[in-house]
């Protein structure tokens, strides 16, 4: 499977070619070139998946294949950093997801970004992002994953700050990069701790690792917790930063300042699931040796999911609603991973159900969330505004966008037979397997999800008639934008019927997904209730939502302001860190260090002033000095 190296190299070459040609390349050609490369990468990924899933089955277990792995950096005999490609069931699935969504975004941007300044730069960055994300998912060792992790962060920064003349976009880009970089510090410490005890970075050694490999790490304790738990927890914190888990979620809503296709690609379908992918990659280690960290992951995910869902109910900017929806859904994925108790998944053993459910939800979520964002972009393109109050009744003007958006909303709400229902059902079943409380919690969140998504849907396409201003009627988007919408809608409808358990499970064995009728019935009814309430409140313009908002009073205001977490962060950084800690360091730097250097200068000046009298120009003075020196030498000679 050596051709897989081209999946990595093609986007990199595309980035270099488009990026370095700059304005010499006409925008049309830059767009065409980028899209063609994305198409090639998609074809190669599909072929890789086909090749993998038809040939790599040994005794019913999917094998992991490493087409290439070479030593990139050699530091000493034991420490070396490799770069390579590892294909197993999860990474192949991710390849399919990433390349598909990337291709859709490339095609969509041909229409959405038409006429924008920096069109070529945009496509160069898209290629860079594709390269980085693919490198992340095919990583053979954890350090390569870290390298591409940072690269993905850089691409995200460049793309969020694409409209660099807008101060809010620049601030959002900085915030995203700094928050994820802060989390990556913990990630790096976790990597170092883990590799110190296991003497390796390689996944091929870590994943099938047994007690003898992790013995030293499990044995050493620090503050009552084993070093292994510390390492895995720290690694999760890195993943939590990238995946916008509470409290590191603050960057994702602000990242909506970037162009909408970027939000679809990076902040919905691919980059934000990097944290989930990380936990999934190290899943055998988590579930086998540090289950308490896994429980912690479940709780963090559950809290984040509820937190984000509550905030999404009160948002009025459609992209912010989708951003918080993403945070909530990733919470679902983390919960699914966290509630797993083992690797096995079969008729009798359901320990690994969470893993399979999480990966399934990742797959379907990528499709419908990308569809939602691209649909939102289509709407924004038509009405030139992000706010719900500027929309309404758009179903008459934009039929394709309307239908595809509706399909995606039904999917995320968990209505059969759409893909979201299938995957979310598995997640909730796994949650019930952990504890009834967790199952109920996730079901409630599913209900809230249905509610706020259909609040969004009705507010955009129904509610009130669109007020046509200055004769500018909104019109359906061009074909370059509607074709990706249709394709993604197709995947959203059909994706649920993929027998996912046959392809992606924790230990590689195959599992036929069975529907748990009780759980399905409960979740569907909860979803329908949510949709019903949303329809009652938002289908036609009325005063009930405002009454309810007033009724909830403080809670509504807090949710609308995202529970003031951003203000808390600003307070901590400005008042505590800048004022308290930095000020004393700045004083020290200005007065002690600079003072020493300036003092040295002043002393030199003073000394020179003192001895400049020696060069008086007067012969008598020179002779006097000469005499003194002679006497001195004579005295020294005598003694």
């Amino acid at each position: 499977m050596d051709y897989t190296i081209f999946i990595l190299i093609l986007p990199l070459l595309s980035f270099l070619a488009i990026g370095l040609s700059g304005t010499a390349l006409k925008p049309r050609n830059a767009g065409a070139g980028g899209t063609v490369v994305a198409g090639l990468v998609t074809l190669l990924s599909y072929y890789t998946a086909f090749d993998y899933f038809t040939t790599q089955n040994v005794n019913g277990v999917w094998q992991s294949v490493t087409p290439c792995n070479f030593t990139w950096l050699n530091v000493g005999e034991k420490l070396h950093i490799d770069l390579g490609i590892m294909l197993d069931q999860v990474s192949v699935m991710m390849l399919v997801v990433i390349s598909t969504v990337s291709l859709m975004v490339h095609i969509y941007s041909l229409g959405y970004m038409k006429g924008e300044r920096g069109f070529g730069r945009y496509y160069a960055f898209l290629s860079l992002f594709t390269f980085s994300m693919i490198g992340l998912v095919v990583a053979t060792n954890i350090f390569q994953m870290y390298i591409f992790w940072e690269l993905v962060g850089v691409s995200s920064y460049l793309l969020i700050g694409f409209y660099y003349s807008k101060p809010s976009a620049v601030a959002a880009a900085k915030k995203a990069f700094i928050v994820t970089r802060f989390a990556d510090m913990f990630f790096l410490i976790g990597i170092l701790v883990l590799s110190y005890y296991t003497q390796t970075f390689d996944f091929g050694v870590l994943i099938p690792g047994d007690a003898s490999l992790f013995g030293p790490a499990l044995g050493t304790t620090f503050m009552g917790v084993s070093a292994m738990s510390w390492a895995m927890a720290l690694i999760f914190i890195g993943g939590a930063g990238k995946s916008a888990m509470f409290p590191l979620h603050i960057w994702l809503p602000d990242a909506m300042e970037g162009p909408t296709p970027v939000s679809a690609l990076i902040h919905a379908a691919t980059m934000v699931v990097a944290g989930v992918y990380l936990v999934a990659r190290l899943f055998p280690v988590y579930v086998g040796f540090t289950p308490e960290v896994l429980h912690g992951i479940a709780y963090v995910g559950a809290f984040t999911a509820m937190f984000a869902a509550v905030i999404a109910i009160a948002q009025t900017d459609i992209k912010r609603v989708l951003a918080f929806s993403t945070i909530s859904q990733i919470g679902f994925m983390m919960v699914a991973l966290g509630v797993s108790t083992g690797m096995g998944l079969s008729e009798h053993e359901h320990g690994g159900l969470g893993y399979m459910a999480s990966m399934f939800h990742l797959f379907t979520h990528a499709m419908f969330k990308a569809l939602l964002f691209l649909g939102a972009g289509s709407v924004i393109h038509a009405v030139h505004s992000n706010e719900m109050k500027d929309m309404g009744g758009l179903r008459r003007y934009m039929p394709v966008t309307h239908i595809t958006f509706l399909i995606a909303c039904l999917s995320i709400a968990g209505i059969p037979p759409f893909s979201g229902f299938m995957s979310k059902d598995e997640v909730i079943t796994a949650a019930y397997g952990f504890s009834t409380g967790m199952g109920v919690w996730m079901t409630v969140i599913a209900g809230l999800t249905a509610f706020y998504m259909f609040r969004l849907y009705y507010s955009i396409f129904w509610r009130k008639e669109y007020k046509v201003r200055d004769g500018r009627r909104p019109h359906e988007s061009p074909r370059s934008m509607t074709i990706p919408l249709l394709f993604l809608a197709l995947l959203t409808v059909a994706g649920g019927f993929i027998p996912f358990g046959k392809f992606v499970t924790a230990d590689g064995t195959q599992y036929i997904i069975r529907l748990n009728v009780t759980v399905a019935a409960i979740s569907v009814s909860v979803a329908l209730t949510g949709i019903g309430v949303a329809a009652y409140l938002y289908r036609r313009d009325n005063a009930y939502p405002a009454h309810l908002a007033k009724g909830f009073g403080k809670l509504y205001r807090a949710a609308s302001n995202r529970f003031y977490i951003d203000e808390l962060y600003l307070f901590i950084t400005k008042k505590i860190i800048f004022n308290g800690i930095s000020r004393s360091f700045a004083w020290f730097d200005r007065h002690v260090i600079d003072g020493a250097v300036n003092g040295l200068g002043r002393a030199t000046l003073r000394t020179s002033q003192a001895i400049r009298g020696l060069q008086s120009g007067s012969v008598q003075w020179y002779a006097w000095v000469f005499l003194l020196a002679t006497l001195l030498i004579t005295l020294l000679a005598i003694w």
Binding site: S618, V619, Q620
Partner: protein, 113 residues
């Protein structure tokens, strides 16, 4: 006549007395060299220094090497050289006088700092 002076004076006047006189002359000359503004006065001080040195030579010749004459000849030599050097110095002083109107040594401080 010379023998009378020699025979009566040799044991009576110790060597150190002459040396002290020459020392006083030397340092007087140095003092004068350092503190005089007028260049002619500096030259006179230099002469004093040279004379003290000549006296040293003569005294050492007399007391330490009575039969030899090198000291005396060197003293004569030094006097001749000092005369030449004084001539050159006077030439310089005349040039300074023509340039500045007086022969003060603090006129020629161009090389300071």
């Amino acid at each position: 006549m010379g023998e009378i002076i020699l025979n009566t004076s040799l044991e009576a006047v110790p060597l150190q007395a002459f040396l002290i006189v020459s020392l006083i002359m030397f340092f007087a000359g140095i003092y004068g060299f350092f503190t005089r503004k007028n260049m002619i006065m500096m030259l006179i001080s230099i002469e004093l220094i040279l004379n003290s040195v000549d006296m040293n030579f003569a005294v050492f010749n007399r007391y330490l090497y009575p039969g030899e004459m090198e000291g005396l000849f060197f003293a004569l030599f030094a006097i001749a050289v000092s005369a030449c050097e004084t001539a050159v110095a006077i030439a310089i002083v005349i040039n300074v006088y023509r340039r500045f109107g007086n022969a003060e040594v603090n006129n020629i401080e161009q090389m300071k700092e």
